[in-house]
Subunit: 107 residues, 2 copies
Amino acid sequence: MALPVPGKPVRGSKSGQPIMALFDLLGRNWAMGIIWNLHDGACTFRELQHRCEMVSPTTLNLRLKELTAAFIVERKLEGYALTAFGNELFDLLQPLGKLARNWSKKF
Amino acid sequence: MALPVPGKPVRGSKSGQPIMALFDLLGRNWAMGIIWNLHDGACTFRELQHRCEMVSPTTLNLRLKELTAAFIVERKLEGYALTAFGNELFDLLQPLGKLARNWSKKF
DNA sequence: TTAAAATGCTACATAATTTGTAGCAAAGCG
DNA sequence: CGCTTTGCTACAAATTATGTAGCATTTTAA
């Protein structure tokens, strides 16, 4: 799957509005889960597989490549980690945790 | 596709952690784009199709049903609209717009 | 009142993505 | 040197998404 690049057509926008490109990227299976789990600290591929309870190595690998190409994830000696930008993104995602707990009471 | 319900196994969590259930829902194609576009105000199905430049009616309809079942979207006389909760969710998503514009400079 | 236009979908076949299981090559360890 | 662990890749099956048609119903307009 091609990396959604802002400025080029992506799902949601022929002109590649940045937010739509980001939604395209984050809306792929596991993308947000990976960011969420990586925030607990850099880790190896296998460790990440365990943090994401049910991800297949195929999907994990593909998503990691995309997130890396999108400057959200990087490889360090300790393994995969969020970039500075990845952390900014996480900071915006984090409040969803509380919201989600609230939301879960509705069911 | 089954609605991800917090408390039951979802993609990302066998125990259905709320955040993972929410990620499962929001991570489906077009889910965030729909929420984003609905924030401009309630609208009809066809109007929403236009706001989401390239969504197929099949996907739009499925996503709307899921978002409705998840208390994020509701139907009003004027058409589809965000619920109060949907608006809270939007408020958390909104900052991503600015981040995305920043991010787009990296490419 | 009635013909035309708009709306809200559904059908269905095709294409794209994701999953799950195996397992292999390379690196690290003892 | 064997034994583990790690980071993936292969590949077939299952699940999702897309695109185009088009139809039944409601709304609009003459």
